[in-house]
């Protein structure tokens, strides 16, 4: 029983980590609002 | 009448003319307008940039910008 809970917790932790990192570095949508003509590009 | 880059320490001047196309609007908004008084506070090594007081406003600009401002000494 104890064993199963522990394994379950590890699985949950790993899933959360992977999801978090994925979201962090591959944001679902690129920012829609690009800068105007006078910034970034100048 | 001289351009502002030639001003020396302890000299006071009054702005006579500015080249609107060359000067950034920001500088104009900070008080760099004809009629206002200007003096040199300090020069960095190699005389550039210049630390000026224009109409009571302390600011630093480069000599190449100052060339676009004409002043008369007073």
């Amino acid at each position: 029983m104890m064993e199963t809970i522990q394994v379950l917790l590890v699985v949950v932790a790993s899933v959360i980590s992977v999801r978090f990192l994925y979201k962090k570095f591959f944001p679902s949508k690129a920012s829609s609002k690009d800068c105007g003509t006078d910034c970034g590009c100048h | 009448m001289i351009t502002l880059d030639l001003i020396k320490k302890n000299q006071r001047g009054r702005i006579v003319n500015i080249d609107t196309d060359e000067l950034p609007l920001k500088l104009i908004e900070m008080g760099c307008l004809p009629g206002n008084e200007v003096h040199l506070e300090q020069l960095a090594p190699m005389k550039d940039p210049m630390y000026l007081v224009i109409d009571g406003c302390h600011l630093a600009i480069r000599t190449e910008t100052a060339k676009n401002i004409t002043i008369e000494l007073i």
């Binding site: 917790l9 590890v10 962090k24 | 908004e29 307008l33 630390y51 109409d55 630093a60």
Partner: protein, 698 residues
């Protein structure tokens, strides 16, 4: 019934706007970003009376509504968009007593938007020493507003401000100037087409080069038809507008604002004479930097040792008290040691932010800009690049954002590209642990070797930044006009409250941001280190025990041997082994290789990774430093000796191992081209210099 009013704080830079914000909101504030852009958005709540709260938003500092940067366009976008949820019920223009005239330019612009506006005159504690006197009631009448004299330093006038905010409905929203006067014919034509629009707003829409995504775009496009004026003509009109505004301001101030020069004491020019002296100015700047590095190293060693000890104890306690099992192992070996790898750097990061914010608060930073401009221009940078380069010692991300006030695009691009060379606080953990391992403790002229090495690494970062800037300056063919206008604010003693809030906020966001990444990576690393494919991993115990050499092992030694055999054949071990050939010439083994891979996400992960790798399957909980110290190569040599240490430090000094930096550079330059250029060239430089140094030293 409780209600909330929206208040916007607007003002020039250096007017103490943020102090006013801190004074009225206290710690009741929240720093975030404007959606889609990386401009910092600060908001807070302030209770005005039992039923009314003020939602206060601290807008980026700006000299006028004619925006020249992304930060400034945030201000105008909000003020032009009545449908924004933050659109202010009342605007508070913060000005400082000494530069009232210049500050009022922005005030008249806000007033012309017909928003109820009140004027805060900050730093009233300076009136006496500057010989300034103001006739407040008369000035209120002239400017058609209420005025609140405040001293955030002496905590005076805040209650008065709150009481005016409470009665904001009584504030006048009359305009100060009539934009029509600058060109009657043009504006009358405009008025005919848009009869129910405010002329000044239309004028702003026409003259601004900013993005009005939230405004009705069609209207703007329709208006372009009437943009018959050439750019140079529009600018002439803007100049005329500015003159008109100053006429109005001078008129208002003539009888109300008096300066008695004989009573004014001027410590500004006396300080300036020393601090920007053509010789002493540079010496002082260098001394200040030297002190900062020494202090960061010295003062933080005690709390750091304490934190290191605590985390290894915590890990041990966890193992002993919790029921044995997979998750307990994850907690003790993955999570706790990974977290320790970030918490340990809180003291140093806090000190660094402390110094940077003090330098900015005092007004000294502008002097550094002044001192360095000429010298930096040779390298294609601007004096203003100093601020990104210095704040890059905290973190490259805010530093890249700080390039926004560099007016010239080429100078700005070069600054963005070279900023990641400066030693950011994420490199600090790596340097510190390596320095303490390979650099002896002695001292030279009162400076410890270790402190000097750290200083040397910082210098190396700056030198590399300059050299690559010079190279880029030659290579990049971009023509753009150079503008350089820097306000030289008066010196002031930093407000402890401001500094404390900045240090707290920045450290917190660093720890939270980096901490979450490190935590997630630590968990994954632990997983990959605890499992492996095939026979070698699963039957490790048997294989090691059956080796002829293991017959002489004590049970303890046998266990360590099994653990390291397992690690070598785990997923992560295989990964590290596969890149070992590429990094062996630099003196790195496969464990360091793993750390290199994982620290691509963020450099500080390096230490956490090693901590996780070394603690997996390790029974005795030791501090990381001791574990690294005893690590040996297969031939019995110490792994972390001088050549390896120096080579690693150089690699970290030059390589761009930070996904967040790449992301921000992409955002700021609007293309993937520049971050990719950065990534490849920096990695190449890192690899080659580490290779060179290791081959020479070994």
């Amino acid at each position: 019934m409780s209600k909330t009013i929206n208040v916007a704080l607007i003002g020039n830079p250096n007017t103490g706007k943020t102090s006013v914000f801190n004074a009225i909101t206290g710690l009741n504030q929240k720093v975030g970003n404007y959606p889609g852009i990386t401009v910092e958005k600060k908001q807070g709540i302030c209770r005005l009376d039992r039923t009314t709260k003020a939602h206060i938003i601290d807008l980026p500092g700006t000299y006028s509504l004619n925006a020249s940067s992304m930060d400034e366009s945030v201000v105008i976008e909000l003020l032009l968009n009545k449908n924004d949820k933050d659109y202010p019920d009342v605007a508070v223009v913060v000005s400082d007593i000494e530069n009232l005239k210049r500050n009022l330019l922005l005030f008249t612009q806000i007033k012309d938007l017909e928003i109820p506006t009140l004027l805060v005159i900050n730093m009233s504690d300076r009136m006496k020493s500057k010989g300034i006197s103001i006739d407040i009631p008369l000035l209120e009448e002239k400017l058609k507003t209420r005025i609140c004299l405040i001293s955030t330093r002496e905590n005076k006038g805040i209650d008065h401000l709150k009481s005016i905010l409470l009665d904001y409905r009584l504030l006048s929203n009359a305009k100060c100037t009539n934009i029509k006067q600058i060109d009657e014919a043009y504006f009358e034509k405009l008025e005919k087409v848009f009869p129910d629009q405010s002329l000044y707003k239309l004028w702003l829409v026409i003259t601004q080069d900013v993005n009005f995504a939230k405004l009705d775009r069609k209207k703007v496009e329709d208006a372009t038809e009437y943009k018959t004026q050439s750019i140079s003509n529009l600018k002439r009109l803007q100049q005329k507008e500015t003159i008109k505004r100053y006429q109005y301001i001078n008129q208002s101030l003539k009888e109300t604002y008096k300066v008695d020069q004989s009573k004014a004491t001027d410590y500004r020019s006396r300080l300036d004479r020393i601090l920007i002296h053509r010789f002493w100015g540079y010496i002082i700047f260098f001394m200040i930097l030297l002190t900062i590095f020494q202090v960061i190293f010295d003062w933080s060693s005690v709390p750091m040792d304490f934190i290191d000890e605590s985390f290894s104890n915590l890990s041990e306690i966890t193992k002993q008290t919790l029921p044995t099992g997979l998750f307990t192992n994850l907690l003790a070996e993955g999570i706790i040691s990974g977290l320790g790898g970030i918490v340990i750097f809180i003291p140093q990061i806090a000190f660094l932010f402390l110094f940077i914010s003090v330098l900015e608060e005092t007004g000294y930073m502008s002097r550094v800009v002044f001192l360095m401009d000429r010298g930096l221009r040779k390298y294609g940078l601007s004096g203003k690049s100093v601020i990104p380069l210095i704040s890059g010692t905290a973190c490259a991300i805010p530093a890249v954002m700080a390039t926004r006030n560099i007016e010239n695009w080429k100078e700005r691009l070069i600054t963005i590209l070279v900023t990641p060379f400066t030693t950011c606080s994420a490199r600090l953990p790596v340097y510190l642990i390596l320095i303490s391992l390979v650099i002896p403790e002695g001292s030279f002229l009162g400076m410890g070797y270790q402190g000097l090495t750290l200083m040397g690494l910082y210098l190396l970062g700056f030198i590399m930044a300059l050299l690559s800037a010079a190279l880029l300056n030659k290579l990049l063919k971009i023509q753009s006009k150079t503008y350089f206008v820097v306000e030289m604010p008066n010196y002031k003693l930093p407000l402890i409250k401001n500094v404390a809030i900045t240090v707290f906020e920045k450290t917190k966001s660093f720890v939270v941001e980096a901490g979450r990444i490190i935590l997630a990576i630590s968990i994954l690393l632990w997983l990959m280190a605890s499992f492996g494919p095939g026979e070698d991993f699963n039957n490790a115990e048997e294989i090691v025990t059956n080796q002829p050499a293991s017959q002489n092992y004590t049970p303890q030694e046998l266990e360590t041997e099994i653990a390291s055999y397992k690690l070598e054949h785990s997923f992560i071990g295989i990964l590290g082994k596969s890149i070992e050939p590429a990094i062996a010439p630099l003196g790195f083994d496969w464990k360091i290789g793993i750390a290199l891979i994982s620290s691509f996400a963020a450099r500080e992960v390096f230490v956490g990774t090693l901590a996780t790798i070394y603690s997996v399957g390790n029974e005795q909980e030791e501090t990381l430093k001791n574990r690294m110290k005893s690590e040996r190569r297969p031939n019995g040599e110490l792994l972390f000796n001088l050549p390896t240490g120096v080579s690693l430090m150089l690699f970290y000094a030059f390589a761009l191992q930070c996904m967040s930096t790449l992301a921000i550079v992409k955002k700021e330059t609007n293309s993937w081209k520049w971050p990719m250029v950065q990534l490849f060239s920096m990695t190449l430089i890192a690899y080659l210099s580490a290779l060179l140094v290791y081959q020479i030293l070994v």
